[in-house]
């Protein structure tokens, strides 16, 4: 810094331009002290989503398996590749398929972008589901995280619907008949089923209106909804006291309650830029709630910079690499253009709906609406039914044997149905051996 004894000259200003611009953008130097590490996390727009400190338990790969992060990063890949694909796609029954061929034939990196988008989409459905399983099996939905679990279930459903709407856009045989079958399942809902199908398709059958509607849902409505829900989901992780963890991990102030405990992770940290040893309390210091405590009490937490950031970067690199390798190795399928007269035999819904379709082949209402409705309702009320506090923060805790057993049974049953529908059903939906 120059001494303020005289007006700085223009020459000085030019000489200091790079460093002045830099320091106006980044309020902190690369952190070398704890104070700066903390300050980096909460003065940077993109980093302030993180708490200043996180519990060591949160960073254990064996606890979270990084599934939530992987889902988020897959969504980011999907947004980027999806926006790029939008530049060359036309949601018209006469043009959509040709545009797919153009992606393959003429657009630079077109086939690669489409592969990335397709494999990330499948991956996201799978990862979001596995994340849901992780949260259940570690009892992480328990108080005070009940509502974040509900948001998570909503995120899962929106993810499925996003994938489903994307399925139609290539306008090939697979797309057309999968959506015909899928929306027909929706029509089995009691009373309003037919109406739902009609509003969804904008017509009696899958056609131009359906393509346009699915396109708008897929590129605007649902991504916006998903982004908002992700925002709330992340925000609540912080407000609900960070990721779930076992009781005895060092921070005694984790439980809800006592107003005497001054807490709030930002409370004792100085305002941006000011490096001072004087304690400054913000309003956060008086907020009640299960916040991570900073202060004199020894706890088991480490600074987010660099510990959490490194973990995130690692998962990001891993996710992107996996998608890149998959996209280089496998091409996204593209079948014959739509032929309304000749459904393929058998006509199958997207794989994650094949469990439904398999059940629908036994009973239309129960398979398509009843059982899935009950399953979603069960998921939603789980944290309000299972009020026990034991076994939070551990995989397969003995205290949660019953809940975990019921959950795993349902998951395995569902997977069996998906597997049967995917591999064991041939022409006329007869049982065939895949081997």
């Amino acid at each position: 810094m120059s001494t303020p004894t005289q007006e700085p000259g223009v020459w000085n200003a030019i000489r200091e331009l790079p460093s002045n611009v830099w320091s106006s953008v980044f309020r902190n130097p690369l952190p070398s002290t704890d104070l700066e590490r903390a300050s980096t996390s909460f003065t940077n727009f993109f980093l302030h989503i993180h708490p200043v400190k996180v519990n060591r338990h949160t960073l254990r790969p064996s606890y979270t398996l990084g599934l939530g992060l992987i889902s988020t990063f897959l969504f980011l890949i999907l947004v980027v590749t999806g926006v790029l694909l939008m530049f060359y796609y036309v949601p018209s029954t006469t043009q959509a398929y040709d545009r797919m061929l153009d992606l393959r034939g003429t657009v630079a990196f077109g086939i690669f972008l489409r592969n990335m988008h397709r494999w990330s989409a499948h991956g996201m459905v799978a990862m979001v589901f596995l994340h849901l399983c992780r949260v259940f099996l570690t009892g992480a939905y328990k108080k005070p995280r009940e509502f974040n679990w509900v948001i998570g279930v909503a995120l899962f459903l929106v993810t499925l619907f996003l994938s489903f709407t994307g399925y139609l856009l290539p306008w090939d045989q697979l797309a057309f008949w999968a959506i015909t079958v899928g929306t027909s399942i929706a029509a089995y809902a009691p009373v309003i089923g037919k109406q739902i199908q009609f509003v969804l398709l904008g017509d009696a059958n899958v056609g131009q209106e359906a393509l346009l509607r699915f396109y708008v849902l897929h590129v605007a409505v649902l991504p916006a909804l998903l982004t908002m829900l992700i925002g709330v989901h992340f925000w609540r992780i912080r407000k609900d006291g960070g990721l779930s963890r076992p009781e005895k991990t060092g921070d005694s102030s984790r439980r809800r309650g006592d107003a005497e405990n001054k807490r709030g992770e930002d409370a004792e940290l100085p305002a941006a830029g000011t490096v001072t040893l004087k304690k400054v309390y913000g309003m956060q210091g008086f907020v009640r709630g299960p916040f991570l405590k900073l202060g004199n009490t020894p706890d088991d937490s480490v600074f987010s910079w660099p510990n959490l950031l490194m973990a995130e970067l690692f998962v990001l690199v891993l996710t992107v690499s996996a998608i890149l390798v998959l996209s280089l190795a496998f091409n996204a399928p593209l079948e014959q253009p739509v032929n309304v007269m000749h459904p393929p035999n058998p006509a199958k819904a997207p794989w994650y709906f094949l469990g439904l379709q398999e059940m629908v082949s036994y009973s239309a209402f129960w398979g398509g609406v009843g059982v899935p409705g009950i399953l979603v309702a069960l998921l939603l009320i789980t944290p309000y039914i299972d009020r026990g506090t034991g076994g939070v923060g551990r995989w397969f805790a003995r205290e949660r044997l019953l809940a975990n057993t019921i959950f795993l049974t349902l998951v395995v049953l569902n997977l069996i149905f998906v597997a049967i529908g995917t591999f064991f059903r041939g022409p006329n939906w007869t049982f065939v051996s895949p081997f």
Partner: protein, 156 residues
């Protein structure tokens, strides 16, 4: 609710106004949602029309069973009686094909007899029959919005 009343035993003006405006806001929200629902239900569809003409009766000689794939109907003529049966499978919406015994769905193996009654497979309902009339210009007119009892024929 003692606190809700003032010394005269009346509801205070502020409270009443707050209550009325809350009802107004909630009402507008409900109206907004309802009008959205109306908006999303199309009044005009641009695909295959539901009411259409298929030709003169003499184009369908007695004994005809012709599947019209674009309209997803099968025209049946027995003697001087004409009917239109849907060829959209009642299971999951695939197009059924005409088979020796009636109709067969290639997707999930539903089978129907000549009249569209389910004879096998997962189909929950018979194939619907559509209203068939003779238009003033002498052509057969099919209305896919109007279902009729199976066995209801137009006599020409």
């Amino acid at each position: 609710m003692e606190a809700a009343k003032n010394e005269n035993g009346n509801v205070p003006r502020r409270r009443l106004l707050a209550w009325l405006s809350s009802v107004g806001l909630a009402g507008s929200a409900v109206l907004a949602v309802l009008s959205d629902l109306i908006f999303f239900k199309p009044r005009v569809t641009y695909g295959q029309p539901a009411l259409f003409q298929i030709g003169k009766p003499e184009e369908f000689p007695p004994g005809t069973r012709i599947a019209r794939e674009a309209e997803r109907i099968c025209i049946v003529r027995e003697g001087d009686k004409i009917a239109a049966i849907s060829t959209t499978c009642t299971h999951l919406g695939c197009s059924v094909a005409i088979s020796d015994t009636g109709f067969a769905c290639p997707c999930h193996g539903s089978r129907y007899d000549q009249d569209g009654t389910v004879t096998g497979g997962p189909a929950p309902k018979p194939l619907p029959w559509f209203k068939v009339t003779l238009a003033p210009n002498g052509e057969i007119e099919v209305d896919k919005n109007a279902q009729v009892e199976p066995g209801t024929y137009l006599t020409v």
